[in-house]
């Protein structure tokens, strides 16, 4: 079981080479940090003070997540997941995939693992981008000090893990519908619709029932505004498991496999 899953994963990993999803992850990871770097240079007079602050990384992470967490992160996840599931539909390759000696379970979960790994890649690039935002000014200008705060593993986990968990239901739902519908617009349309609904529902006390709202709630929680009625991480993981189970059942019971 395990060796064949590894082979399925290797195959799935190769398929995404040069795909739009890969470019989205690369560009998406550096997009906000790049803008943040420009903004920092624009505020050049305060650069030395900011880098000298013992909370410099917290400040940079907060500013970057402000733009990323509310809209761009779930939007990017919607796009990337839909693009990965579209690879087979667009290239008319489902029939070839299903005529190979692979268990359907392996196909389903290896594709999902590719998406999750790409998400991790995105987080790594995003963190690298933020790090560069902090040190590039110091590398370029002698009078600007290097950031006066060390980055610990715990700090990175605290900054990233809640956002990663908040994306899981979006990945789960987009994966579910992405595998069911050939038309890319169905997947993107449903995702955008749910995201808009989530943004509208942010102030609603029962907003936590909408699975696309958690990254916005994570950002608000990092600013001390949390929904007292629910543990959003438990809800996010619950929704993810639900969507993956439903998606798996629908996938293996599909009458036409390409």
């Amino acid at each position: 079981m395990i060796p064949s899953f590894v082979h399925s994963f290797q195959s799935e990993w190769l398929k995404k080479k040069r795909s739009a999803a890969v470019w989205l992850v690369m560009i998406g990871g550096f997009f906000i940090p790049a803008i943040m770097l420009i903004a920092r240079f624009n505020d050049f007079n305060n650069l030395a003070t900011h880098n000298g602050s013992p909370q410099v990384w917290e400040m940079l992470y907060k500013k970057c997540w402000q733009f990323m967490g509310l809209f761009l992160l779930p939007m990017g996840v919607i796009m990337a997941t839909s693009l990965i599931t579209q690879i087979e539909f667009r290239n008319n390759t489902w029939k070839q995939v299903h005529a190979t000696p692979q268990k359907l379970t392996n196909i389903f979960f290896s594709k999902l693992l590719v998406i999750l790994t790409m998400m991790m890649q995105f987080f790594i690039l995003f963190n690298l981008g933020i790090y560069l935002t902090g040190i590039i000014p110091a590398l370029l200008f002698k009078k600007i000090p290097f950031p006066n705060q060390s980055i610990t593993l715990m700090f990175l986990i605290k900054q990233n893990l809640p956002y990663f968990i908040s994306c899981l239901p979006v990945i789960g739902f987009q994966y579910l519908i992405g595998l069911q519908f050939k038309n890319f617009l169905v997947s993107i349309g449903a995702g955008l619709g749910l995201l808009v609904a989530a943004l509208i529902a942010i102030p609603w006390k029962f907003g936590y029932i909408i699975p696309y709202v958690y990254s916005a709630y994570t950002f608000l929680a990092s600013n001390g505004v949390s929904n007292p009625l629910a543990n959003i991480q438990v809800w996010a993981i619950g929704y993810f498991i639900l969507f993956i189970v439903v998606g798996y059942i629908l996938y293996i019971n599909r009458r036409e496999k390409g």
Binding site: K17, I87, Q96, A99, P101, Q102
Partner: protein, 301 residues
């Protein structure tokens, strides 16, 4: 021993539309089996069922003597396929496309160059599959089907998009694979002329029903049986009586007297006898049905 065997394979699409009705496909081991039928006859549906791409509703599918349903993975390890249009990742090169499948089959990496050589695509370099011509895509798809050194090759209309030279090369390749490596080939087509020079066995399907199945020689003998001699006279009934009196197996059809094909001398003798009996003979025609006519005849009746 049949490499592929189906028993009473029946399939209905949604809306209860009958796609296949009790199809008993028998593809002998080591044969090149031509699966013929017009567009929409049920060829692709049969092949998709055989590969598990459609959920089986009724009937039995056995490949290599084993139930497909119970031994799907084991069977697919030894089957190569190309169903309808090419299945290629447009953003990848030919080598990368094959590497995707090589990871699954876990065949040696040098097999990629071997199959690319077989389909004459080993010089495509960094060109992406989306930039290939339809013929090149079709050949690359065949390379994918051959990658795992299959024992059974299932090809659905593999010559689509190929130029005449490509079609000839494809026939040569399939024959070579069959003769040298003993690969059983099941190839579908809607044109008998396209595969009659290649196949050893033929199955003809139309409207979801298998109308003929047997060796190519059996189809040829059917052709000879269906060739006929036609006499057009002014008194067919009397002419028929005369011919029957002389023990000729004649009958009438479409206002003409029909006989099996006879020698030129016999035809002359019959004509002489009819004329001597006062019958005017307007026309004597020999209709030799070619295989294509047999195919059309089977499909239309």
């Amino acid at each position: 021993m049949y490499c592929l065997y189906t028993n009473n394979l029946t399939h209905r699409f949604s809306g209860n539309e009958m796609a296949l009705s009790k199809v008993n496909l028998q593809v002998p081991d080591g044969s090149i089996y031509g699966f013929l039928g017009p567009n929409g006859a049920g060829k692709t549906t049969t092949l998709r069922l055989v590969l598990g791409l459609l959920q089986k509703q009724e009937g039995i599918i056995e490949i290599f003597g084993k139930s497909f349903q119970r031994n799907r993975i084991e069977i697919l390890k030894k089957v190569g396929s190309l169903i309808e249009t090419p299945s290629l990742y447009g953003q990848l090169t030919a080598v990368e496309n094959l590497t995707v499948w090589q990871s699954i089959y876990q065949c040696p990496k040098q097999r990629i160059n071997e199959v690319l050589g077989l389909v004459d695509l080993n010089n495509t370099g960094k060109k992406k599959a989306s930039q290939f011509s339809l013929g090149m895509k079709q050949r690359l798809s065949i390379a994918v089907a051959l990658l795992n050194s299959p024992s059974l090759l299932i090809l659905d209309e593999p010559t689509n998009g190929l130029d005449p030279n490509g079609i000839i090369e494809m026939r040569g390749l399939l024959r070579k694979l069959n003769e040298e490596q003993g690969i059983t080939v099941l190839v579908s087509s809607h044109l008998l002329s396209e595969i009659e020079k290649l196949v050893t066995h033929v199955g003809i399907i139309n409207k979801g029903k298998l109308l003929f199945q047997g060796t190519l020689n059996e189809l040829v003998s059917k052709q000879q049986q269906s060739s006929a001699l036609f006499f057009d006279t002014n008194e067919n009934n009397r002419a028929l009586q005369i011919l029957n009196d002389h023990n000729f197996p004649a009958h009438t059809a479409k206002d003409k007297i029909v006989l099996p094909v006879l020698s030129r001398q016999t035809i002359a003798r019959i004509n002489q006898q009819l004329v001597e009996n006062g019958i005017e003979v307007y026309e004597i025609t020999v209709v030799k049905n070619d295989l294509e006519s047999i195919f059309v005849d089977l499909v239309n009746h």
